[in-house]
């Protein structure tokens, strides 16, 4: 049961104490940091590692950071990559085969993660995407994934309410943000003000970590100020035409727009790798050269690779048109049947990181038009 306490106020200089509490309880903290000109999640111990006064500016195929001179740590909106790689590892060993002296294989499990992660910085779209990954990797319909489950079990989440939107954001239209709903799955959520944070805990773990800080309740003025900042984030320039595009897309499989997109799409797979809900992976057997053991590894895959749809002698999705159609129909149509909602939470990453700047909200709008009209008629 989640139960949100009335908001408290966390002075800016006490965020470090919250970090200390988490570290004392055995958590490794991951937080936003600037690396190679982008905001990414990386391990940190101290608030001094947080990106101060850093704003991100996004547009199709464009991303840059600027310094706005403020003291704020969370003026950026979206990390280049979400939290997906921290739970669903880009590459990991599923099991190992070792050979005995007769050459016969024996199968054993790798050591599973016992790490306790705490991640600070998730936005409402990231929380929604995490719930999607949970549905997929922990589903009881198929076998829950023990590796994802081990990391997820100990995950402590500090969510941040957005106080800006960037040009690629459209979480309002998908219904996933910008504010972090108390049932969204965070332990703690915070809204940043100049002097500190309006902070709420939604779980017993969240309360346990904030309790030693003996925080005072947030004043009405502080709550109002937080609400004002949060309102800024609702000003989004993009939107999906509808939260349920299932029938529209499955009825538009022969739409001429697929060809138009294919003439721009590079089939590079950037969109699927930054997409926080994409779950595809492939497996490889990596044998040791001495022939004594072999590891079965999985690695992120994408429906934009030829191997994704390979069956002996044929590649089912042999061209970009079919691959882009797979991506969009899976994300916005198939997901409804699989998990009861679209697979997109409006984070905008696939728009920012698409080299030719394909904007899926614009493509959906065209595909949504009746009669197979394309963008030029």
């Amino acid at each position: 049961m989640t139960h949100t306490l009335p908001p408290h106020f966390l002075p800016r200089d006490q965020l470090q104490q919250l970090f200390d509490n988490l570290q004392r309880s055995g958590h490794q903290i991951y937080g936003p940091q600037v690396r190679d000109g982008a905001i990414v999640y990386a391990p940190l111990k101290s608030t001094s590692a947080l990106p101060q006064g850093v704003e991100d500016h996004h547009a199709p195929a464009s991303y840059r950071l600027i310094n706005n001179g403020s003291e704020h740590w969370f003026d950026w909106v979206s990390t280049a990559q979400g939290v997906k790689p921290l739970l669903f590892r880009p590459r990991e060993t599923l099991w190992r085969a070792t050979r005995d002296t007769t050459g016969a294989p024996h199968f054993e499990d790798p050591a599973n993660s016992t790490e306790k992660l705490a991640i600070i910085g998730l936005r409402a779209c990231d929380l929604a995407a995490l719930r999607l990954q949970d549905r997929h990797f922990l589903s009881v319909n198929h076998s829950p994934d023990p590796f994802y489950a081990a990391r997820r079990q100990h995950l402590f989440i500090i969510a941040i309410n957005c106080t800006r939107a960037v040009e690629s954001c459209f979480c309002s239209s998908t219904g996933d943000g910008p504010r972090c709903d108390p049932t969204a799955g965070f332990d703690i959520a915070m809204t940043e003000l100049d002097s500190g944070f309006v902070i709420t805990s939604a779980t017993p773990q969240g309360r346990q970590v904030t309790k030693p800080l003996t925080l005072r309740s947030a004043s009405k003025a502080e709550c109002d100020e937080a609400a004002q900042h949060e309102a800024n984030a609702t000003r989004q320039v993009r939107a999906v035409p509808s939260q349920n595009m299932r029938d529209t897309l499955f009825n538009a499989l022969d739409h001429p727009q697929w060809d138009k997109i294919a003439s721009r799409c590079l089939s590079c797979g950037n969109c699927t790798s930054v997409c926080p809900s994409c779950f595809c992976y492939s497996e490889q057997s990596e044998a040791e050269l001495d022939g004594s053991s072999s590891e079965q590894q999985r690695e992120w895959d994408s429906c934009f690779t030829p191997g994704h749809s390979y069956m002996h002698g044929i590649t089912l999705r042999h061209d970009t048109r079919l691959r882009y159609r797979q991506w969009l129909t899976h994300k916005f149509a198939g997901w409804h049947d699989q998990y009861g909602r679209s697979g997109c939470t409006g984070c905008g990453r696939c728009i920012t990181w698409c080299p030719p700047g394909i904007d899926l909200t614009a493509e959906l709008a065209i595909l949504n038009r009746a009669g197979g009209e394309t963008d030029d008629g």
């Binding site: 024996h106 997929h136 829950p144 079965q296 999985r298 191997g307 994704h308 797979q326 129909t329 049947d337």
Partner: protein, 277 residues
């Protein structure tokens, strides 16, 4: 040990039978008595067969489910993994996990006429159906088998077909794209065999093979008033995990490894006429 659905169990090759130049059958048995005792499967389900250091492949179980301790896998050598597996001999140890997916609607088929259609280079998944019915002949109505091959030499189990032809209440119609003097049956496409048979209104159809062939056969069946829900197809897609996780086998919203491989035509009809899914 953790509960790790990815990890195979050890299995022994009990017997290896060469069926044709490129097709062989492995009879497998789990080493762990507990796994062996707890294992049950249905015709049309499949296992993941792992060859040390090379990889895993999806292979249907073709033996009869009444003996779930000896599991026959009939395999065509086509590429890296199957090539390696073809080198195995009796006594060798491999990895095996399963069974996965949904099999053929054998219960629904009881008391009805069954039409089995296979094409391409012979198709393991439906062999389990034929074997199953042959073992329980009285529980089913008329059994009709349509099988198409490219060349006469591609017909594996010719002796079995010749035996099935002689069974009561059974009809076997064979076609080869190109004939030769050894081929007494039809020369041409499988769909052309439809004119040689009569379908009752309580026929249930089970087919597998190349999708082009299955499309053509579905068209013929619908023309002949067989309802969509009485037509079942076994689908094939790239498979990595067989657990509904890796996403490779997605067919629209379905995961072939979990929701299939056997589907009723009604279920997949919206996508079946579109290539690329």
């Amino acid at each position: 040990m953790m509960d790790n659905p990815h990890r195979p169990w050890r299995a022994r090759v009990v017997e290896r039978i060469q069926e044709s130049g490129t097709v062989f059958t492995l009879r497998l048995e789990f080493l762990d008595p507990e796994i062996r005792a707890g294992y049950r499967f249905a015709p049309g389900q499949f296992n993941m067969v792992y060859l040390y250091g090379v990889g895993e492949v999806a292979i249907s179980i073709v033996s009869d489910p009444k003996d779930p301790t000896l599991l026959d896998h009939t395999i065509r050598t086509v590429g890296r993994v199957t090539n390696g597996i073809s080198q195995l001999q009796a006594g060798d140890i491999i990895g095996l996990r399963g069974p996965y997916g949904r099999g053929w609607p054998m219960q629904e088929a009881e008391g009805r006429d069954v039409l089995v259609i296979t094409g391409g280079l012979g198709c393991a998944p439906v062999v389990s159906v034929i074997n199953y019915i042959a073992e329980r002949r009285k529980q089913f109505g008329k059994l009709t088998i349509l099988q198409g091959v490219k060349l006469p030499k591609d017909l594996i189990w010719r002796d079995r077909f010749e035996r099935w032809i002689k069974e009561p209440n059974t009809e076997v119609l064979l076609a080869a794209d190109k004939g030769d003097p050894s081929w007494p049956w039809h020369v041409g496409l499988v769909v052309e065999l439809f004119d040689q048979m009569r379908l009752s209104d309580h026929t249930i159809v089970m087919m597998c093979g190349p999708e082009g062939m299955m499309r053509a056969c579905v068209d013929e069946l619908l023309l002949r008033q067989i309802p969509e829900h009485a037509i079942y197809l076994s689908m094939e897609r790239n498979m990595q995990c067989a657990l509904g996780q890796c996403g490779h086998c997605q067919y629209g919203a379905d995961f072939v490894c979990r929701d299939g491989p056997v589907f009723s035509y009604k279920q997949i009809e919206p996508l079946f006429t579109h290539s690329g899914f």
